[in-house]
Symmetry: D3
Subunit: 283 residues, 6 copies
């Protein structure tokens, strides 16, 4: 079975551009609008890759549409809710809905491998929630971003406001963008600290750069990379002391891996190391 | 009643440059030195605006003096304390004094609308505590900053050290500035991540830019903007998971707002949306 | 007794380039490889300086070797462990070993004075853990860095992953560097937010700049500087509200220091203030 | 459709002894040993009840077997694992397995209604993890408990050690029981603070008492009860200040419920109030 | 000026039964129903005592009415709110209202001296929030308690659910009482861990016992007692390690008090020690 | 080498009453007053046992003196400090002193085996800090306790106030005891939740019971017992969710122990299992 077998679905296509690398492309014309069906599909796809024990070591997320990454949430989904219920019941129902929505968009954090977002064109509203939950963000130089939610009368609630204060650098600038919904360029996104890099060129170039990065990561020990990912995520949310304790427990087992002697052997032999896959498959 | 009616006081003048926008100007000659009386007045003003239910949607804070934002704390206030008490009682008395002082300077965080600091000239000592507690910071290009406290024999305790590690980007540079009390330029402040932007020109230009930004924010849904503010502030101090939970509870109610259909209607009609004020008035 | 008396040891030499300033140089040829013996010596040295009550007010850490700061952990130390034990016992033994290792490398955080790392050449693996635990980082312009651990099959566990998400600015770029082990330049390190500044020149220039900075800090009140350090470290790991509370308790006592009147007196007299040493000596 | 329709499965039978009350009975002969299949079934059942939007307002959990609640984990499940993997991969695989296991046993916490455990006979090992995650615990007077894990060479990891320090009263006694695996009686469990009450009689009496309690709860507003449950669970894990903030946000919406006027109306009329069901159904 | 001068108001009378001891009696006939006016008055009274620097060292809170402590919130206050607003604005308005309400009822926690609740008769709904925020609780033997909120269609939100999981002992029993609103006796309250003691007799006896306890506390060093209070409150909400750090900072100053030699002197002389008052007066 | 070889010192004698069990007796006549020298010796002893890799599986702590456990801190140690320093320097010096003192008394928490305190006679002041940091507490029936610190003009700062709110059951009663310094009996200590049990008889009986308990623990798997201890300590200070995550990481390695098959084998064979020692020896 190839790595990408049976993963593509109606609006998401999945391929294997390099060994152990998956490329996930969003493709819901005309603007990759995220209906509940699409975000469920998206979250389920990432969780399924994890739970099926496929030997994925890095994943690139991009849009298959030529003009944009995504226009954000499908506007048709706003305004649903429970017409007959009282305000308390509506609120509780919405709360549960949001928790599921957050869970789906937060799927990259649960993957044991890095997820790299490669964006171009427009990244609107939910698009920023989506890429914020990824490990790494590359953008093509002409990309335009907007934290659109305030323009529609609501506060972003699927991750943008939870992630940005932690993963970027300048709260003043971040709040300005969040309060005004104004468009900002890739260069401004880089200044905010949202991007590793602005890639010269467009859709093709940014995807190519992201896949190259994914390939570099896929050559490393999956025990080391997945441990690094988990520890960095823990560190983001805990004090230095808490994180050092967690890391010492984690590495108590992880340092017993065969990947260490294999890495040293390969480095000495100037050959490519060969690593066993991780087994995190669901029961 | 106009928005700014009866708000001006001895050392602080308040005007309404745009609908729903307040401009608060510090004006205690010669250097906006903050005596206990001034910081009490400052904190009370912001809390009063909030509690009186005035329909403010953004606020700009600046100095009315031509040469500087503020020279910091009024030196006459240092060295007070309780002469007769033992060291433990002095310490306890000082602790309570500092809590009140912190509460006053932290008032912008309690406002349901964004507070934008627009600074020029000199921003010394307490001036950095003050702007750190604001949402957004703009500085005129010639502005000079200094975390002055160490030069006077003390550690900054009214917010600078609590905010900077979270709202800026470079701990090495931040510690260098905090340990040396050296002057740093607007460009360095921008590199630190303290400013959204350095504004070309001086006092007038930076205030004009800040008021324009305030006007843009004031055109948005107050439910959306105030929710965004509260969630970002929560996010700064909590893990991603904690913040997503809080946000889902918050938006359970907030998504029932009329501002959403009104925003969509206005966008479709290419007209300006009209929003009801928030009611957070004190009993 | 001079400040540096009896502090130098086999692989670490200590001098006093300026009053109240220590210069600690790593000197284990050929590449400053950190064996357990070296990192124990390093941690013990810093703790000893603290506990002996020497009147140190700033410390510069650098390498005495011409080509590099450090090549990281001594590879001979990997692969030890408990051959006969079961995996659980190995894990527990490794956990305790890591806690000690972390404790040693975290020693700069326990010093009541700032520690400034001045690096040049190569900073590999453990080198990044070491400088991350310092207050301030300067690098010579040609310095190359690498978070090397993933290349060896493990996740960095002595501080790099605990500190970087908090003390730098761009999680996307940071994760890219951590997942790939790729070399990055001083300019990239500055973009990451890891450095105060890139210093033109090489080993000599960066050390000179760091010592000058240390001298500037050493002229300030040690009560103020050590309080600022402790409060900033607390702030990094706690919410704004928690930190303001802690600071108010701290300054309840600290504001009773004679350093405040002495600082004010000296400023008025345009003379150098003279401060009593701190006494934090061990029993 | 009745409340319990289509919920019973191979080893778990579900009935509706009172309106809005479910009775879940474990029935895997001979000792209710929990294989992975059983605990999956158990967790899925509770989550399914929640997500299908059935109008359940309280649930009683007990054993259908005459002699005991459960003998704990199915010993056949120990010692599985990944034979070929290295210790690091085994550890990671086990970690993911435990997370799933914990998720299943923690299902009562995710129910929007209270879950009442009614136990008799023996409650061994996993049995204590299971009841610890419930809201309320009743035991028949002859019940014997044991935190069995240490006797088998492991630390309890599915909830016992996470819950007991918070939901009971005496850490000295709790640690004694956890370190020795000794049997303790219902009276001792009550002294520990684990039980609301020891019920005179056996299996029938304790189930009867629990169903009566469930009936009393089912007569109350589901908005009020589910809010109380969520807030108490939050309170267990957060400071007073954090919890008050969370509660104020929660009740901002919840106090708009029709259940308040309906409760007041019914109390005045001395009739039974009638409440709408909650709608927390999954998409 | 006597200690209690000018403190009594319409529904609250204040006396000084012993030196440094205040007795605060609720007296709003017929049932001490808490309108917004009453709880504001209550919170303001306690804060005022603190801020005026009166030399109070312990305070007893009880009801002046013969039959009960309080029937809880004034039912006339429910159902107010903002009739015209949308659900989001109502929610925000309620949120702010609840924060103020919580702030008032939480006033005992802000007092630098212990507050002892002495209850008799009925303690209904808000009554439990009120006594939960006190340091110590005594009840007359016939007292009946009820967490009434669920019966009215809401979750308790002014402190009961925030405090009980931390200050009592048995989560199972606590949840049972909170979900059912059933009456529980003083003996059951003691079993829950809510009371220090059940006092034989009625209103007079319980008040007498509480005043005797207050007198014993008032004889101790106010530096010691107020520090103990603050540290215990901090400890309730933080880990052991966090609390030890906070305590060490606190006592760094507090151990310099003259109360230590004075206590030792008096103990040796078998006389009553004399302590200076604390000075925490507002500016 | 026997387990207790070379461990006894001037005021502390150590013996091995049962295999893998140490008995540590305090013996500084006339009242086991804790000078700095004694508490250093005490903390160093426990840490040394841990770091020397002795195969200890449980430890009993008691007093060798017939009349009491301890009278608390050596009064001669109060009132030291830094006579010449200003209040800020005194405070900092005291802070460091307290941190060391706390570290020594907190040593039982760092032991990988349970520590059981067996007390009789009087347990005064520091005595309660000491036993609070132990895992399990037994008291002879006539034992009298007092949280003495307030009587001497200070707040307990070596653990009593950090531990009691978490390890006991009734905050009202606890605060009453802490604010008044009154003597309380073993029965009252049991009611507080401080003791597992009150042992009939005196010094000999309580020590005998504690040694029997230690023997029972020493027969269990040290991997299981030390893991249980660490997880319970973590659980006391973290939320349920945080603790479940930590436990899953911990047991990922721990479940690979040979102690599980050995425990199962021995249980089947009705023989005593034989376990390898843990190896946590210092470098």
């Amino acid at each position: 079975m190839t790595l990408a077998a049976n993963l593509s679905s109606k609006w998401i296509s999945v391929s294997e551009p390099l060994p152990h690398v998956l490329h996930v492309e969003l493709s819901r014309k005309p603007v990759n609008a995220f209906s509940a069906e699409l975000w469920s599909e998206y979250g389920d796809l990432l969780d399924r890759i994890t739970h099926e024990g496929r030997d994925v070591r890095a994943l690139v997320l991009s849009s298959a549409l030529p003009k944009l990454f995504t226009a954000g949430i499908d506007i048709a989904d706003l305004g649903s809710g429970e017409p007959a219920a009282d305000a308390a019941r509506k609120s509780l129902s919405t709360y549960h809905h949001l928790k599921e929505f957050q869970h789906a968009i937060g799927a990259p954090e649960r993957c044991p491998f890095p997820v790299i977002a490669a964006v171009h064109g427009l990244v609107v509203g939910l698009g920023i929630d989506i890429i914020s939950a990824c490990d790494i963000r590359y953008a093509a130089e002409g990309t335009q971003f907007t934290i659109k939610e305030v323009d529609v009368g609501l506060a972003a609630d699927i991750g943008t406001l939870a992630y940005l204060p932690k993963i970027t650098a300048n709260h003043s600038f971040m709040r300005e963008l969040a309060y005004t919904s104004r468009m900002f360029s890739a260069a401004e996104a880089a200044r905010l600290g949202l991007l590793s890099e602005v890639i010269s060129g467009g859709k093709e170039e940014v995807v190519k750069a992201a896949i190259a990065l994914a390939g570099a990561i896929a050559g490393k020990s999956p025990v080391a990379v997945s441990g690094t990912k988990r520890i960095l995520t823990h560190s983001r949310d805990h004090s230095v002391a808490e994180n050092l304790e967690y890391t010492a427990v984690w590495n108590g087992a992880a340092l017993q891996t065969n990947d260490i002697p294999e890495s040293l052997r390969a480095a000495k032999a100037r050959s490519q190391p060969a690593f066993e896959p991780l087994r995190v498959a669901k029961l």
